[in-house]
Amino acid sequence: MKAELFAGLLALVAIAVVLRMVSRRRLVVKYAVLWLVVSTVMVVMALIPSSVAWISDLAGFEVPSNFLFFVGYGLLLMVNLQHSTELTTVERQVQRLAEEIAILSEREDQRDGG
């Protein structure tokens, strides 16, 4: 019982922190959504502990804690993948900006020289 209480409180704190960061523009909504979903699920699990056992049994896990570890691991991978795709976009945009600036400065040089 204690563990659930602890996990639930932690999830509530996480929700509060994430919302605060978003409202202070320290975090964009698209990154916040996944964290908020995870925290909400954790709160639900803390409120209804039997749900964890039920779902883990349904998914074929013998020990519910293994199920939790598996899901947690999967979520972290998802966050990682999201960041990788965003980073790819940002890299492409930086590359494009570098090209634009190079073209602009070449134009400046031409004007100065000619």
């Binding site: 523009r25 909504v29 494009r96």
Partner: protein, 242 residues
């Protein structure tokens, strides 16, 4: 500030608008020969920028698509740097008749930001379903926030006075819906006076509104999340200042 001597810049964010743009620019030039026109090409895949230049407008060409909010930031920044007093934002698809611009400018006399509103009795613009519900809800909330009737808060037909230009060139949110609704919350945070003028709008000359079923439900969800966060920010700003 908003008399005939004010320097006015008409700002048209444009994404793949080569079809509609020449007509829009010609009409603008005809009805308001004295104003400068700036097209912000938001990373179009077609030759929007060339078409705009040929139509006599100045063009800011963004190297990739940044969304309406981002395009507006660029245009407002240029306006501020070059000392324009007033910026009028219009769609580049011909939805917003240039003949209505003087009425927006007139309303800037008592306001920092004026919205050209579709649902305020003029014209026959209609939306239905969940999207309509979302828009009506947003209008109600924004009316409360600004303590003045605002019936069409997602309108992209707006006039910005000097104070609004100064604030929004730095604070205009780039996120989805940020350029319309959230910008109004930002305006409140900075104590800008917001008003509206009823305008007649036309059917857009190209493109379709794509909000049906699941998509409009998703739209409603995003609206609620965005609004909730924006209002949280507003409450915090108020608490800080009092």
């Amino acid at each position: 500030m908003t008399g005939t001597t004010a320097r006015v810049l008409v700002l048209l964010p444009a994404y793949n608008e080569r079809e509609a743009l020449p007509g829009v620019l010609a009409e603008l030039h005809e009805t308001l020969p004295s104003v400068d026109v700036l097209v912000v090409d938001d990373g179009s895949r077609d030759d929007t920028a060339e078409v705009a230049r040929r139509g006599g407008a100045r063009v800011l060409r963004l190297p990739f698509n940044v969304g309406v909010g981002g395009a507006l930031r660029a245009g407002l920044l240029l306006a501020r740097r070059e000392g324009y007093d007033v910026v009028v934002q219009c769609d580049s698809d011909g939805q917003h008749p240039p003949a209505e611009i003087p009425r927006l400018l007139a309303a800037l006399a008592g306001n920092d930001l004026v919205i050209g509103a579709r649902f305020a009795g003029e014209g026959d613009y209609r939306v239905r379903g969940l999207r309509a519900l979302a828009m009506r809800f947003l209008a109600t909330v924004m009316t409360r926030v600004h303590r003045t009737p605002l019936t069409d808060v997602t309108s992209g037909f707006r006039a910005f006075g000097p104070r609004a230009v100064a604030v929004l060139c730095a604070e205009m949110p780039r996120e989805y819906l940020g350029d319309t609704v959230e910008a109004l919350v930002v305006a409140k945070e900075h104590r800008l006076r917001v008003g509206q003028v009823a305008v007649t709008m036309r059917v857009r000359q190209g493109g379709v509104v794509s909000h049906r079923g699941l998509r409009s439900a998703l739209y409603l969800g995003r609206v609620l999340v965005m609004l909730g966060l924006a209002l949280m920010r507003l409450v915090r700003a108020r608490r800080r200042s009092s």
